[in-house]
């Protein structure tokens, strides 16, 4: 009964709205508001609705964040976790108990790393897709992931690091991940950096990196090879507070640059000739975006290992909700990437922490993405 009552109520409201809509349009056609003003009004309302969508994604992201932090192998109930967090926040200098150490020094960095990596990878993915005009592009398209993997392999198996000390592997991965971007910049002095050229040079570099890495793996001892393999699939198990500032730096600065380039990315989607005709130095813009994406992705990959799928799927899911205007898409993609990442990490914590997050993002993201593609009615691509 109550169901019917509510349905009637909703119908009534809808009817009233429709009537008032009619009256307004009648009033408009007899004078007052011009047709242009109406288009502008509708356009503003449309943009406003997209901003609401962005807000909704942000809320989603926060919920997943809140859930994820309460999960972990150490047995703590949900409320206790928050008690510990707030108790630390209000009394920073107190002695740390074991549960508090678990929450503050293990879970917090892990969840923050998931959040920042998700945001960074998905923003970079959105920008890469727009720049390449290719829905298959992701932050690793230029060969960043295989470069990073080779750098890490050299460090783990052969002990060849560019800098000594604990950050040796990370720094190796970072530098090798940036090699493809450097290579493309070198090439661009000879030829225009077209999307096809960028993708093809990325693929050729990927094969070269993979070949060298495979050979090193073959001659390596099994323990080292296993360590490399674990690194390659990506994991948040090594997360610690010391990593966070680096990750934040790359994602934050990169994100600001990409947001600044959003309008340019929008126009590049209409083709190089048109973009040039409205005053964009396409080659230069492409290099700026490419370097930014590479820095974000390399920064993240070198700490977390290769976490796939987020950079590809985050932007696409966001696109379904907010459309393809990069000004809204880039932040929305970032938040969506973070949400997927946090959800995947929650699952990892439930299933068992020995499952790498890279595996879960793909296993979880694949079917969800497939479902969204199949059920959507409007053409987004």
């Amino acid at each position: 009964m109550t169901k019917i009552k509510y349905r009637n109520m909703i119908n009534n409201i809808a009817l009233k709205l429709r009537l008032s809509g009619n009256t307004i349009s009648k009033l408009r056609s007899t004078g007052g508001q011009s047709a242009s003003a109406m288009i502008i009004g509708q356009y503003r309302a449309y943009k406003y609705s997209k901003m609401l969508m962005l807000l909704a994604v942000l809320i989603f992201c926060l919920i997943f964040f809140a859930v994820d932090i309460a999960l972990g192998p150490y047995d703590l109930d949900f409320i206790k976790v928050y008690q510990l967090i707030f108790s630390r926040l209000f009394d920073w200098d107190q002695d740390m108990t074991t549960p508090m150490l678990v929450v503050w020094n293990l879970r917090m960095p892990r969840v923050l790393e998931a959040l920042i990596a998700g945001i960074g990878l998905a923003m970079a993915g959105a920008a890469m897709q727009s720049m390449m005009k290719n829905p298959l592009a992701d932050p690793y398209t230029t060969g960043i992931s295989s470069g990073a993997a080779l750098g890490a392999t050299l460090a783990i198996v052969m002990g060849i690091t560019l800098i000594p000390g604990g950050l040796g592997t990370v720094f190796n991965a970072f530098v090798f991940a940036l090699l493809p971007a450097g290579f493309i910049i070198l090439l661009s002095t000879v030829r225009k950096p077209s999307p096809a050229m960028i993708i093809l040079s990325g693929i050729s570099l990927m094969y070269i990196f993979n070949a060298v890495q495979s050979y090193i793996m073959l001659i390596a001892n099994p323990d080292a090879a296993a360590a490399v393999y674990t690194w390659t699939v990506g994991s948040l198990n090594t997360a610690k507070w010391a990593n966070i500032p680096y990750l934040l730096e790359f994602s934050l600065i990169g994100g600001i640059v990409l947001m600044y380039m959003a309008r340019v990315l929008n126009t590049m989607n209409s083709g190089d000739a048109y973009a040039k005709s409205i005053g964009i130095n396409v080659e230069r813009a492409r290099i700026i975006v490419l370097v930014t994406i590479s820095l974000i992705a390399a920064g993240i990959v070198s700490f977390t290992g290769v976490i796939g799928f987020i950079g590809l799927v985050g932007p696409h899911i966001a696109r379904m909700f907010v459309g393809s205007d990069n000004k809204i898409l880039i932040p929305a993609a970032g938040l969506m990437g973070a949400a997927v990442m946090l959800l995947a990490d929650s699952l990892v914590q439930i299933v068992g922490t020995n499952v790498p997050i890279g595996v879960v993002t793909s296993l979880l993201g694949g079917p969800v993405f497939m479902f969204l593609i199949l059920r959507q009615k409007k053409e987004v691509w």
């Binding site: 288009i39 989607n269 048109y274 005709s277 005053g279 053409e379």
Partner: protein, 285 residues
């Protein structure tokens, strides 16, 4: 204000393949100017050299006395707008967002009320107001073209270049668009340069007609001066009859008698391979 375009001994090539050389043209009057000619003679290429999409291989092109190569892309964009023939958008935005792109050279990061008003106005001029919030990819080819023309108008240029603006339009919108472009050119005292394959549409509306033939400019003048049976035969290898309608030449073709030699391909620059064009053609990705 109309822009003074001057091509001095201009040449263009894609790689080693010369499209044309030693072209001298002076366009210094407002109005609707049509560029005619067979496929592949470099009509679009001429447009590309005007707004620096393609750098000339020899000679130079001057906009109001300044070599375009010395101008930044944005400086050119404030004066010159370009409407491509087709647009392959991978990730399309709404029609309104697409038209607002045309405001790029004039506006800052955020869209102003003035930008919105200009864009809405241009959309309505092209009868696309009701599609403002549709996704650009959901439109038909003709509607695409109308949105792109609106986008070109929204740029408020002194020189508007359109590459076959009427190729996908229905007959109503062909006439409507050409009349609109001609009237805008006259009212705003600006130059509208179009590439056209419909000789009669060009004849009806153009103030000046420039005909390209393989490697050079063949004829330049008013429609009455240029569109003659000789020109059409020499340029297109097509026999046509000309009648005067409303004081302008009207070209009549015959289904079976207009083409003698079915193997003759006019205007094709035979040495250009597809790969060469793709490499150098900025329209390609």
């Amino acid at each position: 204000m109309a822009v003074h375009i001057k091509a001095e001994d201009l040449g263009a090539s894609y790689g080693d393949n010369v499209i044309w050389e030693h072209i001298n043209l002076d366009i210094n009057e407002p109005g609707l100017i049509s560029i005619l000619g067979p496929n592949g003679v470099g009509k679009s290429t001429f447009m590309y050299t005007i707004n620096k999409i393609l750098e000339p291989s020899s000679g130079r092109i001057l906009l109001d006395g300044t070599d375009v190569l010395e101008l930044g892309y944005k400086d050119i964009a404030k004066k010159v707008a370009y409407v491509p023939q087709a647009s392959g958008e991978t990730f399309a935005m709404t029609v309104m967002d697409t038209v607002l792109m045309g405001r790029y050279p004039h506006s800052g990061y955020s869209v102003t009320q003035e930008d919105l008003e200009i864009a809405a106005d241009c959309l309505q001029k092209m009868h696309m107001g009701e599609f403002a919030l549709r996704n650009f990819n959901e439109l038909s080819a003709g509607q695409h073209q109308r949105v792109m023309i609106a986008r070109g108008l929204a740029q408020q240029p002194d020189l508007l270049m359109l590459d076959e603006p009427t190729s996908n339009l229905d007959i109503y919108h062909q006439i409507y668009t050409m009349r609109l472009l001609r009237d805008i050119a006259h009212e705003r005292n600006m130059t509208v340069l179009i590439i056209c394959h419909d000789l009669n549409i060009a004849s009806r509306f153009s103030d000046r007609v420039i005909v390209f033939r393989k490697g050079s400019v063949y004829a330049d003048g008013t429609a009455q001066e240029v569109l003659t049976e000789d020109t059409i035969f020499n340029v297109y290898n097509v026999k046509a009859d000309i009648q005067m309608v409303d004081g302008r030449p009207y070209v009549i073709f015959h289904a079976d008698d207009s083409i003698d030699d079915p193997d003759f391909q006019c205007g094709v620059v035979d040495t250009v391979s597809k790969e060469d064009l793709q490499e150098a053609d900025p329209m390609d990705e």
